[in-house]
Symmetry: C2
Subunit: 760 residues, 2 copies
């Protein structure tokens, strides 16, 4: 746990240069716009610890896997997000001396991520080894107005010297991924170009043959006057630069604007990349840094207008929630149905930047409630487009007849993960993908999504579950062996309650969806029936048998669902209170077998089911299961606490809810898990939003109606949030006096607030 950042409602602030936390800061101060993003690496050359990172959404490389022991069915390749061309480099030499903060004495260092307006700023005064003192102010952002563009204004003032300065403004695609499995570079050179104040590079990924053009144009003034510099152009493989020389004068501020763009072959013909990149760069340059920055601020203002959560009386909580919302929107904007949300977004390489079940289970409600309906819909369509691959994936594991198993980790629909207990067994992910379709329709009312895309996915998933269970003659029930539930601290168990439950639910929902499409879009049904070769009587007949006879493990003594067979043979009497401080976190202190056979739970598992299917259980059942499982949960996944906030709030356990809330809200800002240097936990950030809106706000959909059951943690003065719902925008304000609802749209709306129906 770190505490070096200043608490502020709208800004993330580092005062003083925290050299040894630099990689953490590089993660936290990251920038992005859904299409491209970057870690907060310095513009200047830096010889200290740094993880250089620039990323372009959707551009990946299938790196050949290394595993300890190969198993049949493992994918050979692990798609990973690529470290792409560096476009923010401005390397400076004063009279031949490299300007490198690692070699300077740094004073008055101030770094701020301005979340309200969407830019990063850095100010400091540095004393070089030679004694030269330089003052710097640097601002930059990834534009959300034109998501191909990034802009930098870098200004420096020689405080105590005049003399020659050499500035290298480059674009460099000759970069590596730190996590490359075979220390290989993933980019090959296609073209470079320089002229006057511009430099361009086009590089292509090996194997996947994506091309990305990265270009920049710069301008320099000194005290507002044009500078008469000498420019040298440097081109080499995957690298292009304009290197300028001039004399700077003591006290005269030099201002460098560097406007850059990334264009990829996902959106342009390869032949046209260079030309378009030049067009985009020049258009942005003409518009100018100041205008672009104003537009950026306006665009962020309108995003905040819709998605902000205000918390009164607790500035650290306020900062935490805004940071999370800010990062969510930096990562994914929903403009492009080919994209998704990587666990680290654009803040690092870890986890390959690929898609996990996190998207559906945690991120989906956030985008659904705060953005245009098409954003959430695009997340669903993403999986629809991967359906064939999911069927292939299931085929590799021996399933047939159109059964679909969505991958645990993917970039293009193919499975990337290679641990048998996860890849082959953590199959509940299939359930979350079906659930998101249900959730979307509940929320938006867009039932025709089923006919268009949803049903095919649901049928593929249902077929998988139907083949994955088998009938146990001894139990007289359908059972499911060899699974890993959401709690990854049990592997290869039989009859994980959550997985069995969601499997049966998927089968049931698929049958309902078939009936709906048959009735409401019969032609479409005929087309789907034909396409997926649906065998009505036999298939739904089998599904129904499974639904009616699924085994749900239950403990008669404690009257709770069993997490899995054998759970009550563990030392289940123990709780987290029996752990010694030096045991925690157990995943950093215990060997895996010890974790597996312990009673301790990584993240909501039975309770994940209670969360998704709250209405299927009476409150006593929810309470008994919560009271049993929560005290045995170590919350060592960042995805755990939020689910517990929602359930605790539902059960009126406000203190517990708030305690859980604190564990998630500032995870990265305080580097709670000691791993923020690898990047931020983007997907779990959505959990904070869930915690406030579904937890304290008690937001639900019931019978097509918005429902709120609000409560206010006593540590707060109040909070408010807005959500979109079927064309309306509803603001919920909660404070010590009570709850106010405001309808910001023209349409009338009935909602339920704390048990009463209200017209808005």
């Amino acid at each position: 746990m770190k505490n070096y950042l200043k608490h502020d409602a709208w800004n993330i602030i580092e005062e003083g240069f925290h050299r040894k936390h630099n990689q953490i800061s590089e993660s936290i101060f990251s920038l992005g716009n859904g299409r491209m993003g970057q870690r907060a690496n310095f513009e200047e050359y830096f010889s200290g610890e740094t993880l250089q990172g620039n990323y372009v959404a959707g551009i990946y490389y299938p790196d050949k896997t290394r595993v300890g022991w190969w198993k049949i069915g493992y994918p050979e390749y692990f798609a990973k997000v690529l470290n792409a061309a560096n476009w923010n480099g401005i390397y400076i030499e004063f009279d031949g001396e490299v300007f490198d903060l690692n070699k300077c004495e740094v004073n008055d260092f101030y770094r701020v991520l301005n979340m309200k307006e969407g830019y990063l700023e850095r100010r400091f005064e540095a004393t070089l080894v030679s004694g030269k003192i330089v003052k710097v102010v640097a601002q930059r952002f990834c534009s959300i107005v034109d998501d191909q563009v990034g802009a930098i204004r870098y200004s420096f003032t020689p405080v105590n010297f005049s003399g020659p300065v050499n500035i290298n403004l480059f674009v460099d695609a000759d970069v590596v991924n730190e996590d490359s499995n075979y220390d290989e570079k993933f980019w090959i050179d296609v073209a470079t170009d320089t002229e006057n104040d511009q430099a361009y590079v086009i590089a292509e990924t090996k194997k996947t043959a994506f091309q990305v053009a990265t270009g920049m144009r710069f301008g320099v003034t000194a005290d507002g006057e044009a500078v008469d510099y000498k420019v040298t152009h440097v081109k080499r493989e995957k690298y292009a630069a304009c290197v300028i020389d001039f004399d700077c004068e003591e006290g005269k501020e030099v201002v460098i604007d560097k406007i850059a763009a990334n264009l990829s072959s996902m959106n342009y013909e390869k032949d046209a990349l260079m030309e378009n990149c030049q067009k985009v760069v020049n258009a942005a340059y003409e518009k100018g840094f100041v205008t672009m920055k104003q537009e950026q601020a306006a665009a962020w203002a309108s995003k905040w207008e819709e998605s902000d959560i205000k918390i009164d009386g607790d500035v650290s909580a306020q900062q935490g929630i805004r940071f999370n919302i800010f990062q969510m929107y930096q990562t994914y904007t929903g403009e492009d149905e080919r994209l998704n949300i990587g666990p680290k977004g654009f803040t690092g390489e870890k986890y390959g930047g690929s898609t996990y079940w996190d998207t559906e289970a945690y991120c989906f409600p956030f985008y659904m409630a705060t953005a245009d309906q098409k954003v959430a819909r695009n997340l669903l369509v993403y999986r629809y487009k991967h359906l064939d691959r999911a069927i292939e994936n299931a085929g590799k594991l021996g399933f047939k007849d159109g059964a679909a198993l969505y991958p645990m980790v993917t970039m293009n629909g193919e499975e990337c993960h290679n641990e048998w207990e996860i890849t082959f067994e953590e199959i509940h992910r299939n359930g979350a993908i079906a659930y998101a379709i249900y959730d979307y329709i509940e929320y938006t009312g867009d039932k025709m999504y089923l006919a268009e895309y949803g049903l095919e996915v649901l049928i593929g998933i249902a077929r998988f579950w139907n083949q994955r269970v088998h009938f146990s003659s001894r139990k007289g029930k359908y059972v499911m062996h060899g699974v890993t539930g959401p709690n990854e601290y049990e592997n290869n168990v039989n009859n994980n309650f959550y997985t069995n439950y969601i499997a049966a639910w998927c089968l049931k929902y698929a049958m309902e969806a078939i009936e709906f499409v048959k009735r409401e879009a019969p032609d479409r049904w005929t087309a789907i029936e034909d396409k997926v070769k649906f065998y009505e009587n036999t298939e739904t007949g089998e599904w129904k048998k499974v639904v009616d006879n699924i085994y749900l493990p239950y403990d008669e003594e404690m009257k709770v669902f069993k997490q899995a067979d054998g759970f009550f043979d563990k030392e289940w009497e123990k709780t987290v209170d029996d752990l010694k401080p030096e045991d925690r976190p157990i995943n950093q202190n215990w060997s895996w077998d010890r974790i597996l056979r312990s009673v301790y739970i990584k993240q909501a598992d039975v309770l994940q089911g209670m969360y998704f299917f709250e209405d299927h259980f009476d409150e006593d059942t929810l309470r008994r299961n919560f009271n049993f499982y929560e005290p045995r949960t170590v919350h060592e996944s960042s995805l755990s606490p939020c689910i517990h906030v929602v359930l605790a709030a539902k059960l009126g356990k406000l203190d517990k809810a708030y305690e859980m809330y604190l564990r998630t809200a500032r995870l990265d800002l305080d580097d709670y898990n000691n791993d923020t240097e690898d990047g931020c936990h983007i997907t779990s950030m959505a959990g904070t939003w869930l915690a406030v809106v579904k937890g304290f706000g008690g937001m639900r959909i019931k019978d097509g109606q918005l429902v709120f059951n609000t409560m206010l943690p006593e540590q707060w003065e109040g909070y408010s949030f807005k959500i979109r719902f079927r064309g309306s925008i509803v603001e919920v304000k909660v404070n010590k006096e009570g709850t106010t609802l405001v309808n910001h749209s023209d349409e009338a709306l009935k909602v339920q607030l704390n048990g009463k129906e209200i017209d808005l």
Copy 2:
């Protein structure tokens, strides 16, 4: 399955050059003497597919592991047997043309492994691209008389040409391991030396700093006359050679003797290595190839005298069993307690050449019954010397107070294996190590071994089991969660019958051993008690509770022990007969999850327990369990069939026993599993011996007495074997007339034969 080798009682014969099977032949025709060994690589340069392999026992390298996902407690290094200096290379050029069988037309190729006399021979006629025809006869062996020495006689006759020949006689330590995790070379240069007809190289292993000196001396004659050659000496890093030039004459046979030696720093001071290597090489050279070969034949004759199994009426079975016995003795001779038996012996790199539980569970009885008592004892002492490491190893997994967990795979006592379900969970290996002590004492009567070494090991193991179980309040029994049994097709199960049973047995046996030592060697007990900090009342009190209350899963309906909890929730009604041919072997056709949740069993598991503890169960119980489990067993481990032979024979199922016998006897000769090219399955070869001696011969020890219950497969005319027992050598001859026992020693002996006591 291949069938390209000729069936012969005493020889392995390849007629005709099977180019595409060359790597398989390299494995099968391997040579060794317990101290060093090598694959049957050609002396000449060979540009075709080949796995070059020369190995020196005990010389290993801790290669840094690569795993997919790291878990706490994993070892960082995987010790692997090193590919060491090549000493058999004799590279030849005729008039500048490289002599390379891969580029020649090869006629009359004949390769024989003469097992009776312990040498390898190759004869052929090769036509080079130039049209030159060369006849070759090459013989070589690793001496079992001086286990530091290897000898080659390589002779060639130019059939249709005369002219210049260039011969490179080298020793080359600049070699790689094919399985190097980071493509690194493991040897560094120490010294090279050449003079006249000799070349020497000393290389040192990285990290482990073993040094090995490899040297050679050669002689050349043509038609029996000394050859007047010109010699050039070549020395470079890790390489030394004598390169000779002379003219060969059509029809005149050139005979090259190359006598080599490997000496290691395990046995010599590093400073003295070169000098001693020269001494050993020269002494052997002086003795000469012919004398050495005669001594080799005599030494093998006396090994065969003691350990041969004769099978009449089935030459392929005869060849199979002799090949297995031959390879066992090539791999391990029991001379050095620091050595053990790698799964591939000196025939390949796979499995790192380290020690597995195979040694105790499969190989141990072979050496105990066919070699001097000290050989088996040395195998036990090997584990005693690793006890501290086993305690360390258990410590890494959170066990304490002297609990010992022996590694799954090791070279020096440290764990090498990195798969959580094996490393942390396949802990039954601890049981086999305790069982071997018991077995040794039963067989030899050497009870004082307990006082000297055995008891400390037993206490460490007992402490581990005592900590590894926990009390289940629901079952009212001690249970053991998260284990992998011998059947590796179930992972991370609870209450594996075999593991629970052997754990309880270990606790009981440790208590008996304590009582024995206390009574018979009270001083030694005091010393041990002090050393291991034994807390009598609390420790044995706890152990007793576990022994009395261990949970042994049992199925009331089928009246068999359950392999593990949940087994009867599988589709247990299925048997191997329900598998389609294209499913088999399932480990090459099914994804891992499918294998895990299937009913199919890789190798004896419940039945492994019945095999070890036959006397603990009545025959009905043995029969029910055999009848239930064998039909569900796919025998995809080479260690599986032998156990089933022994049990089937015990139960009078001679046909089943013979069917199982066939699956193991010629595993490598027929390349049954399509993997002999990686090396031979050395440890499972002991299984064939078990199958004959304990299976068909029904050999047991009861109350300190040898017992035989013999039977004869109808496919055989008869068989015979000899075993050593407490100073006697007993020969058992079985044929259609009956069984004859012969006592080859001077001591009188009472044995039981087919239910009757006999005086020998």
